[in-house]
């Protein structure tokens, strides 16, 4: 059969099904393969809080969205071009995200009475008129999978777990992707159980062949490689990148890494990842709670380790008191907060960026801490590494904010050369002559780091206010005033040691859109779209949130209007208004999901129209 191939610039596909359907794995493979062929891409895994919710339920739907293309890709896509739905619930939950005219590949075998009812359908949408606006491909995926495995001696459970590879094979055919990366992965992954290698391989190929042989599909698509910087790449999630950033900082500072952490969604993977690399002398300590997590890390840091702690919102709240101690002790410490939906337990598996004010202001008394935020999965590596640099150079705890979206999302990572990574080796104090634990370096305002084991430097530090030289307890009123102010000044001074803020677009104009953290992609994409329409709008994205870059006020004053989109009720916008007295306004949608570029574009339109 002869079919046309249509060339596309970019495309968004969603895999959705039950928590048990392996959608995250499927999406992950599609991602790797697409990266492999040189597409740029962004992904959005979205899964329920329940571990393995009962089959067919709406709340049990798990999804993985991939936006890939021959052009620069900044977001996982506001809407999908194609949607693979493994059951009615997956269709129900996601249909609103499908573009007018988009494709649905549905596993008809699960569109049975029970599942339709569970999903709240009164009739089968594949059979009634309701999906008229879409291109529907009804494929009996379960049955076809079964057929492919007929002669193998596999349990029904195992056969069922294979059907996602059928869907994957089919989409590989549709979008002209090679099967090799996945075939290799299967071989490696199931090396110990050859029958699984055989089964998964067969089913993947069966899916591919199904596309090739049936007449259902009249067109295939081709998406050319993007123009990406030359070099070696790998796929990495935000949480992996954070973990690797810590490992790299440990290697380049020659300090042993100590992670004191307590599991919490969506931060746990950092702990899991670091637990693997014991040969880097990394010690991961799964503490009894978040307080012990950070306290143990502070203890390790006192001992000369690179101390780190990782958590999400509720855990961050629990660490508050101990962060104040770290401020007082002036010891290096890296605190990673992978933000999630709140308040309280909130929406544990959903994204949000509402811990900024907590990070900047949320401690008793004046307890200044530098705050940095990562903008994408790979940026988690750079941001964490930079946090380590600041922590070690300025003897201070540093907060790194990431979020559920970039932590779980993966993207191609241009592997850095080890030699290009800044050397972070700190200078331990070893000279007993005139040693004063709180004598500061006149430039960095940093106190010396003298670790146990150093003869002659025995000294005592603690959380009470301390004399500005000896570190001994001091209740002197003027000393306290001095210390409160110098601690703040030390952090403020870091502004002289970070890059200036930059605008993407023009340095002045009608509207500046300011963003931070994981909304980078959506905002950048929205601004680019509007600029390409000729609007006077630029984008500024901030990694450094405390202190802010020195030139920030100046840039803000170059624009007539300032818009700050955030997945919160306006947090950065508060800081900017306070600090620079600019009438910045917020765009705030708190749905537990990445911002949609389209919404931002509409707001840009509106503001520019209003003038």
């Amino acid at each position: 059969m002869k079919r046309g191939t249509q060339r596309l610039d970019e495309l968004t596909i969603l895999f959705a099904g039950d928590s048990g359907d392996g959608m995250q794995l499927t999406g992950g493979q599609f991602t790797i393969t697409s990266a492999f062929v040189g597409n740029d891409l962004a992904t959005f895994p979205d899964y329920p809080a329940e571990i393995r919710a009962p089959a067919g339920t709406l709340f049990g739907v798990s999804g993985f969205q991939i936006h890939f293309g021959a052009t620069e890709i900044r977001t996982p896509g506001d809407q999908c071009d194609c949607m693979v739905v493994m059951n009615p619930a997956a269709l129900k939950v996601n249909l609103k995200c499908l573009k007018e005219g988009g494709s649905i590949i549905a596993n008809t075998d699960s569109f049975n009475e029970k599942f339709l009812k569970l999903a709240g359908f009164t009739s089968n949408p594949l059979e009634d008129e309701s999906l008229g606006r879409y291109q529907v491909y009804s494929v009996p995926i379960t049955k076809l999978t079964q057929n492919a495995l007929n002669d193998l001696n596999l349990s029904q459970k195992h056969i069922d777990r294979t059907k996602n590879f059928f869907a994957l094979g089919l989409t590989y055919w549709m979008y002209n992707r090679p099967m090799e990366p996945t075939l290799n992965w299967i071989k490696e992954k199931f090396a110990k159980t050859p029958e699984f290698v055989e089964a998964n391989t067969r089913v993947l190929k069966a899916g591919h062949a199904y596309g090739e042989t049936t007449e259902l599909f009249t067109v295939r698509y081709e998406i050319k490689p993007a123009q990406l910087p030359k070099g070696k790449y790998r796929s990495i999630t935000g949480n992996e990148a954070t973990a690797w950033g810590l490992i790299a900082a440990s290697v380049k500072s020659k300090l042993e890494l100590f992670l004191g952490s307590y599991p919490i969604t969506p931060a746990s993977e950092i702990l899991h990842e670091l637990a693997k690399y014991k040969n880097f002398k990394i010690r991961t300590f799964q503490a009894e709670d978040e307080i012990a997590g950070i306290s143990s890390a502070i203890g390790a840091s006192f001992g000369g380790a690179l101390g780190a702690t990782t958590t999400s919102g509720p855990g961050m709240a629990l660490k508050t008191e101990a962060m104040g101690l770290a401020v007082m002790l002036e010891l290096p410490l890296i605190i990673v907060d992978v933000q999630r939906g709140g308040p309280s337990t909130g929406l544990p598996t959903k994204t949000e960026q509402a811990d900024l004010l907590q990070s900047v202001y949320g401690r008793n008394s004046e307890a200044p801490i530098p705050v940095l935020a990562a903008s994408s999965p790979t940026d988690c590596f750079d941001t964490t590494y930079e946090a380590a640099r600041i922590a070690l150079k300025y003897m201070t705890p540093v907060i790194v904010l990431t979020d559920g979206y970039i932590a779980n999302g993966a993207e191609p990572w241009h592997i850095p050369s080890i030699d290009d990574l800044l050397d972070l080796t700190p200078k331990f104090e070893t000279n007993p002559e005139n040693f004063q634990p709180y004598r500061r370096d006149p430039v960095t305002l940093t106190r010396p780091w003298a670790i146990p084991g150093t003869r002659g430097l025995e000294h005592r530090i603690g959380g009470l206010e301390k004399d500005n030289l000896s570190g001994n307890i001091s209740y002197d009123p003027d000393n306290h005033d001095y210390m409160v102010k110098i601690r703040t000044k030390k952090v403020e001074n870091i502004a002289n040691d970070i890059p200036l803020a930059q605008t993407d677009g023009d340095g002045s104009g009608e509207l500046l859109v300011v963003s931070w953290g994981g909304t980078y992609g959506s905002v950048n994409s929205a601004v680019h779209n509007k600029r390409s329409e000729g609007l006077s709008v630029s984008h500024m994205h901030l990694r450094y949130l405390n202190p802010l870059p020195n030139n920030l006020g100046q840039i803000l004053n170059n624009f007539k209007q300032i818009l700050v989109p955030e997945i919160n009720l306006g947090q950065l916008v508060k800081i900017l208004r306070d600090k620079y007295l600019v009438s910045a306004i917020g765009f705030n949608v708190v749905r537990g999901l990445p911002l949609r570029a389209l919404e931002i574009e509409e707001t840009i339109d509106e503001l520019i129209k209003r003038g």
Binding site: G38, N279, I298, G303, I461
Partner: protein, 341 residues
């Protein structure tokens, strides 16, 4: 602030003293604990710079300021957690926690039980004065029932912890008790704690002469002490009394006091203390709940179990042997990668 460098073998008590004003109330039992510690530390053979005292908040937690070693005055209740991180990342150090009955058993209760169960090589000295000293006299989790305190004007209704039982319930490997007023026993117990491999827990009865004066009188004062305290000695029968004329015998699972002079019982009927027997430890620890029994002091329980830090080291060594030392280049490039040309 720094004393000249002295070779280990020549340390004296003075070497462990700091130039800091000691800020406890005159007459406080903490002074004696400090004195005994400073007296016994020269004998440990550990270089000063390898010793760290970690504390939380409380009168007892001021202790690190007065020891001329490394010191860390933490936040309320977290000393065990801080010390855990320090010890895990620096197993070469001798890490001591000084804490109070509030700091260690109330707000810090969780870190305490977890440190004990993990068998991390830290030494926990709990200054038990059965009161919150620093905050001026509220009851603590070890205050006795009925105790009148600032926060219990009509008497305490909390059933107190028996710290020894609590520690044993976590399967701690070293559990001991000593008294602020018994320098000899305290020095012995501290030394044994120092030598123990794993978490060592020492409860120290400490008089707070301002807010809970005399709480331990019966067991510390000359007139009553001998007849009310039994000093535990491993392998020896539990004899006590001014004239060594009484003993502790087991009646079923219940210990009771017998006279060694009325002809009914002899030394052979008494409990032979065995530091290694976990059930005997529970029985001895439980004696404190019965006012008719003498209060046991000394080493209640001491066994060997692998320490947490040694197990972590083993995993590091094993993996390093298998995969070689960590290599960043290798890490970045392992698994699936691709080239954009």
């Amino acid at each position: 602030m720094n004393t000249p460098i002295v070779p280990t073998q020549k340390y004296t008590t003075k070497d462990f003293q700091t130039d800091q004003d000691v800020r406890w109330c005159p007459g406080c039992g903490d002074y004696s604990i400090l004195a005994q510690t400073q007296r016994v530390f020269p004998e440990l053979g550990i270089p000063k710079e390898k010793i760290v005292f970690v504390s939380g908040i409380g009168c007892s937690s001021r202790f690190p300021y007065y020891m001329n070693t490394y010191g860390f005055h933490g936040i309320h209740g977290r000393a065990a957690a801080i010390a855990t991180g320090l010890k895990l990342s620096r197993p070469d150090l001798s890490v001591w926690v000084t804490t109070g009955d509030g700091d260690g058993m109330s707000i810090g209760g969780n870190h305490f039980i977890h440190a004990c169960r993990r068998n991390i090589g830290i030494k926990i000295l709990l200054f038990n004065n059965q009161i919150y000293g620093l905050t001026k006299g509220q009851f603590s989790p070890t205050s006795v029932e009925g105790q009148i305190t600032k926060s219990t004007p009509y008497g305490n209704i909390d059933h107190p912890f028996n710290p020894l039982l609590l520690a044993l319930g976590t399967e701690a490997t070293f559990v001991a008790r000593t008294l602020d007023r018994d320098p000899k026993n305290m020095q012995y117990v501290i030394k044994r704690a120092a030598e123990h491999n794993g978490t060592a827990f020492v409860e120290i009865y400490q008089n707070c002469n301002v807010f809970n004066d005399g709480a331990f009188e019966l067991w510390t004062e000359k007139g009553t002490k001998d007849d009310n305290v039994v000093v535990l000695e491993n392998g020896l029968p539990m004899i006590f009394g001014k004239n060594k004329d009484k003993g502790v015998r087991l009646n079923g699972f219940s210990p009771d006091v017998v006279s060694l002079t009325d002809g009914k019982y002899s030394v052979n009927d008494l409990i032979i203390h065995n530091e290694k027997d976990p059930m005997l430890a529970f029985i001895i620890a439980g004696m404190s709940n019965n006012p008719a029994l003498p209060r046991p002091i000394g080493i209640v329980h001491a066994i060997e179990k692998p320490t947490y830090e040694s197990l972590i080291q083993k995993q590091i060594d094993t993996l390093t042997a298998k995969q070689g030392e960590g290599n960043l280049e290798k890490l970045f490039n392992h698994g699936q990668t691709w080239e954009i040309k």
